[in-house]
Every structure is written in C-alpha cells, then in structure tokens.
Symmetry: C2
Subunit: 300 residues, 2 copies
C-alpha cells in the first residue's frame, strides 16, 4: 500500500471531506454573482483539500471532527489562490487567462476578501476565540511571508535560513493551524508545511507539470529565490546571474546539473522527519506519518 493509500484509507476521512466540500460549495454559492463565479474557479483549483485532511487526521478518533476549522483553513488557502491570480494578472498576463479574469482585478480582490472573511465568520460561529487567534496568526504569517518573498526577489544572497523562514510563514503556519484545529501537534504541522513547500519548489525547478496548474520554471522567471535555485547559484555563476534577473535560457538544466534538486529533496525529507518527531501521542499516527511521506513525494 502506498503512503497516499494509507492516508486515504483513514476511517471517516472521506465522509469528513465530503462535508467540508458541501460547506465550501454553500459558502461560495451564498451570494450569486461575481463572488460565486470567482469562488467556483478557486474551489476547482485547490482540489486536494490537504489542509482540511490535516485537521481531520490531527483530531482524536472518537471526537467530532473539526468541521469549522477544516473549512476555515481551506477558505484562507482559496483566498490566497484568488489573490495570487490577482497579482499575476497585475504583473504578467499569462497566455491562458483564468475564466474569471474577464471581470478584472476588482473581482479577484472582492472574491478573495470574501473568502477570507468567511473563514473568520465560520470560525467565530464555532465560538472559540483561541481558534480565531490561531487563524489570525496564520493569516498574518501568510501576509508576512508574501512580503518577505517580494523583498527577497532577485537576491541570490538570500540565506537558507531566510528561505526556510519564508516557507514557515507562507505555508507552515496554515498547516500548523489545521493541526491545532484538530487538537493535534503544532510542531508536526509547521514542519510538514515547510517540507511541502520545499518539495513544491523542487517540482517547479524540475520542470514537471504540477497538478495545481502552475507553470514550471515560474520561480526562476519571477526571480523567487527557492532552495534549489539558491543552492545551484552557489555553484554556478550563470544560475546566480539568472536568479538576479539575467537571461534564463537553459538555466534550469544547469540547476539540475549542480545536484541542487537532490540536496533540496534531502532537506524536504529532513523536515518530514522533524514533522514525524512531533507525533508522540497522536491517535492517527500511521496516517500522519504516511501523509508526511506523501507530501514530500507530492503524491497528495
């Protein structure tokens, strides 16, 4: 049985994810019009529901699964996807515009803000201010991670520590929130998120088609210093110059030639191990360990 199969076989997960999906559908369809239109495309784009699954797997076997928390983390993730498209639309118009782009940046802004506010609304209804604080903290971290990414752009001297901090802020903290919503290990969630982000950055450099629809090579084109690009830039002046804004032709092949992809994968595995080390006492330990494996393989 593959790691992914082990995760998917978790009892109750399917039913939980169907409930989450129904709730997301309901939220998006609540106000027909622009928000519903853009929301539907975001619903389709983030199809794996990894964050709600994490909330479920972090929860005790005999307790009610954390429905409001799972829906809230996915809504924040969807809001990010919608706003990212807004930014992309404002800076580089890609060849294949998403359906909603016909409505312009206001639509993306309004729909993203709507999904974001919905996340807080649903969590506040659940009545626990501590959980609202956790989500607010994750949302703050997301914004800080994005600001950091902007400041690190085209800087081949970005340190590995600064890169890892960015991964924690941009990705780790929302994974962490999902685990906390389930009553599970914050340490597992944070490290799993970092491992996930590193694996994502490797895929982008490896030039593979990614299921999220992201075009490979985006990080290099945009000058985002990811781990494989930073490691390769230390070995190869041409990669370094490309990351700093110079010509990009043939550079991904040179990145691969430095061995930076393998070394980055090792770092992802290291964070997956750190994640697993935080699992003492978890009731669904086997599934969470398998998830850590699946995330690094990017099979989930």
């Amino acid at each position: 049985m593959s790691a992914l199969d082990t995760v998917r076989a978790a009892e109750g997960l399917d039913a939980y994810l169907r409930e989450v999906e129904a709730r997301l559908d309901e939220v998006v369809a609540r106000y027909p019009g622009l928000v519903a239109h853009v929301g539907r495309s975001a619903l389709r784009a983030g199809g794996k529901r990894l964050r709600p699954a994490l909330a479920f797997l972090s929860s005790p076997v005999d307790a009610d699964p954390p429905l409001a928390g799972g829906v809230a983390v996915e809504l924040v993730h969807m809001a990010t996807l919608v706003h990212d498209d807004l930014i992309d639309g404002a800076t580089v118009r890609r060849g294949h515009a998403a359906a909603w782009r016909e409505h312009g940046p206001e639509a993306a802004k309004a729909a993203g803000d709507y999904l974001f506010a919905c996340a807080f609304s649903i969590l506040a209804e659940a009545g626990d201010p501590v959980l609202v604080s956790v989500l607010a903290d994750a949302a703050l971290s997301l914004a800080r991670g994005e600001a950091m990414q902007r400041l690190q752009r085209h800087d081949p001297d970005t340190t590995i520590d600064a890169y890892l901090e960015r991964c924690a802020l941009k990705t780790g903290k929302l994974f962490e929130a999902a685990c906390i919503f389930g009553g599970g290990s914050a340490e597992y969630g944070l490290n799993l998120g970092i491992a996930f982000q590193i694996a994502d950055d490797v895929l982008d450099c490896a030039g593979e088609t990614i299921e999220t629809g992201k075009v490979p090579g985006t990080d290099l084109r945009e000058g985002t210093p990811t781990l494989p690009l930073l490691l390769a830039a230390r070995e190869d002046e041409v990669v370094r110059a490309a990351l700093a804004g110079g010509p990009k032709d043939g550079v991904l092949v040179r990145v691969a030639a430095t061995g930076a992809l393998e070394r980055s994968r090792e770092m992802a595995l290291l964070y997956a191990s750190k994640a697993r080390a935080g699992l003492d006492g978890a009731e669904r330990r086997a599934e969470l360990e398998a998830l850590a494996e699946a995330v690094v393989e990017r099979s989930f």
Copy 2:
C-alpha cells in the same frame, strides 16, 4: 459651536483616539520592511479615525472605551484603502503614484492582508467571539459591496435601492460594527454609514477637492453609478450615455444642472435622520446627533 466642535469636545475622546493611534502605529511597525512601509502610508491616508470615534461615542460614559474594537474597525478600513490602491494601480495608473507603489502590487496585497488579519487578531485577543462575528460580517459585506459595485459599473439603470444596498454593504456595515463594539445602536451606525457614503458621492460629483486625496469626478470616469449620477441620468441623456461609458467632457456641469446634487444631499439628510432615530437611550446622544450632522456636511 459647530457640529464638529460638539463631537470633538466629547470628554475622553482625544485620549481614546491617541490610544488608538498608538496601537495602530505599533501594529504597523511590528515587522519592519514592506508591510511597515505600506502600512505607514495607509495610516496617513485615513487620518480622521471616524470609525474608532464612533466606537467611543457609542460606549457608555462610565465604561472602559472599546479599544480593541476601535483599532479593529480602523485596521479593516486601512486594509481596504491599501487594497483599493492595488486595484487602482492594476487598472489605471494615475499621475501621482503613492510612495509604496514602487514596490508593486504584491506589496499592497501583502500589507492589506496583514492589516486585515491584524484586525481579527486584536479582536480575538479581547476574547469575545460575538465581536469577531460582527467584524467578519462587516468584512464580508465590504467584499460583497465591492463585487456589487463592479457589476453595477456602467449601468445607468441601476436602481436607487440597489445603490443604497451597495452603500450599506460598502460603508454602512463597518460603521455599524463600530457602534456595536461600543455597545451602541446598530441602526444608528448603519444609517450613518449610508448617509456618509451618499455625502461622499455628492462631493465627488461636485468636483470639490476632498481631504482623502480622491480626485473629484472619479465615479463618473470609472462608470460607478452613484446617487447623483443616477438621478441626473434620468433627466439628461448625455449624462446617461457618459455613465454607460460614453464621453465625459462637461458632464459634471450637466449633472449639477439637473438638481441631482441637491436631491442627493436631501437623501443623505434623510439617512442622517434615520440614524438619529436609532439613538434612544444613548448616553452620548448630543455628540452622536452632532456627528450625524457633521458626517452629512463632511466636516468630520
């Protein structure tokens, strides 16, 4: 004594607004870099602190003033200003770019999201999930109001009711939240916000220089159907065509000639009266009545 002087003379208001200001400064400066840079420009842009003042004036005289609530509503307002600049930057590059625009749309997105998340964070710390629900509801309404504005663009057949609903969503609900945070009248806040928005829309058409720095005539240029434009479009085919996307030269003079500005001001006064009618039992009734007057005059 003018209405504005009556409002400003409210005992404790100055000290409260200084506390709000200190807290806003602290939030914006917390993470030096992009967020702080963009945040500072938003701090300067929305200088009147009308929403926190509303929270204060809605609170009982002998109770602690609603600091977290006042800060939270202002942060949501600031986030809106930052994101609006993002949208403006993405669609029409104005002559005088704000200082932060050098950092591009990512900076505005990250800083706006940061301020937005801060609002929820500060309110969640205060520990009352009902207040978080109120803020989330206001934020949802803001997003819906913006989506509605996008859909109504260039439509001279927008009904007055649809326009008023947009004002309630875009402006009224955050005013309402401020009043609720103070323990005051939701009805007062909602109607005051609608009055404020109508007065703002009249100023834009009247071609006066507005202290917020908004360039007069923006609504007509962008095809946003405001009350004065809608009323004038019913009387004058040239105004109607301009609102639908046609030539705009000399159109504001024609709008004024139809008497639409006076009739819109009357509508603002009507909503200010509705606001005052919600003030039974308010301890700072005189100040809140004066505020309703000042808002329509736009002296606050």
